[in-house]
Subunit: 308 residues, 2 copies
Amino acid sequence: MGLAIIAPNKSIDEINAWTAVFREINPQLHIQVFPEISDKKAVEVVVLWQHPKGILHEFPNLRLICSMGSGVDHIMADYSPDNVPITRIVDPRLTFSMTNYVVMGILNHHRQILRYIKDNQSKTWDMSQPEIPISVGVMGVGELGGDVLDKVAGLGFPAIGYGNSPKSNFRHRYFYGDQLQEFLNEVNLIVCLLPLTPKTVGFLNKDLFRKFKKGTYLINVARGKHLVEEDLIPAIQAGFISGALLDVFQEEPLPVTHPFWEHDKITVTPHIASITNHKAAAPQIMENYQNLMADKPLINQINKNQGY
Amino acid sequence: MGLAIIAPNKSIDEINAWTAVFREINPQLHIQVFPEISDKKAVEVVVLWQHPKGILHEFPNLRLICSMGSGVDHIMADYSPDNVPITRIVDPRLTFSMTNYVVMGILNHHRQILRYIKDNQSKTWDMSQPEIPISVGVMGVGELGGDVLDKVAGLGFPAIGYGNSPKSNFRHRYFYGDQLQEFLNEVNLIVCLLPLTPKTVGFLNKDLFRKFKKGTYLINVARGKHLVEEDLIPAIQAGFISGALLDVFQEEPLPVTHPFWEHDKITVTPHIASITNHKAAAPQIMENYQNLMADKPLINQINKNQGY
């Protein structure tokens, strides 16, 4: 019985930090780290982040697949055995960071910080229209989206959710499925926190933007692949979108030639809205390792049919 | 019986907006507007904002002094008859704006928005150290300061208050009076929401800054006179202060020659954190007018000994 970490884009330091936590909890654990996995038959648990496509075919005794982050789209987008459960990380610290980043973005739009920073440069004292009235719509109301709605409502703003499927007794107003236009009619600031699934790839595209209220502000903190990037600047030019705060991109790091860097209505941050903390995450994987050994139910297991 | 509005720095449009609300509630009311106050003996209620010094000597039958805003420092700093009560405006909308401005400032420091805006300009993708850990101290824990503490704690940050006098059963950790150093030892972001009184004029000065933890961030949304402006840049240079968000200044508009405009650690906004809304404020004054007529207790009356 053993575990393999397959995360080719993470640094050796980062992998070592995860391994140290694993060993602290389970000193006997047999850990192999990609690309040095010599004994593939011993691997019953894989711990994955952006693994090479098709690699899961190589492990005949696989019993558990663990994402190293909150998202599992990197796993769902590739082959994995049907009967092997997949788990993700649920990290309160991750929720704290994500929510505070999103609330920052919302308040910066509401209070127009970019305008005042420009006014600083030109030494302009302009007290007119100090607030843009906002009504916040959050697409994707899981752990993260739900927390954003709680905090935004707590600050006194209208806050409405939208998701794929019906939800009973949700604590905020909520629209789903084909109620999309009704949802969009009520909001002028959209936060994308959707999971990345085949249904949501490219969901933020020109057909959606045309349904926005004029001047809607967009915050994308989910995945770069949610946004059809070439549709954004035309939607700003057409007035459907007044500006955007983007933390994730189709290609990361965002290439220096990308037009988002220089656009004065677009603020780019380098995928820092929320970063999984190995100290919170690694023990969750060890807990599931023990659960698997003891035939107990897993924590944070995803529903493969929903894809999240 | 009549009312006089004395607010020489407010525009005619603004005065008319207040007058319209007064008339709507009380069509018979005799309203005089400075400088055209011909019948001074008829004035029993004055409604003030930055009135000319000494003018209250001119009204022999004064029974009530109403500030047009949340602050009463402009009244306390001048002559007013001892036995005449003073009221202020308490506006939930004002609290909403103030809190959201302050939370924006706190999150922008925590998540380093100015750094990322610079990185946008140089097309730099730098994921290192995405958060500055913060512990928030609010000086002045009245209506506004208390609400800021509620919201900051709600977002998951340590939040501590400091004020002049003891408070029993306050819902956050609280220090007062000579516990100043203990308070400062626990925080690295200070929000000034103190009332402006003879005790707090110039409270934000070099002697205070020397007691700050190195790298404390400063947000002043109270009054320009709280800050000894010439002490700020030296305190930044000495490392006591890492930066500041300032909405209020000794002289407003901030003169174009002022060094705050160009300093890269100082963000200036043009006194827009919170603006009194006449639709919320004017009815409070009319309510007190009726209370006075009916010998009922006043709302939002200030304690003259405390000065707020």
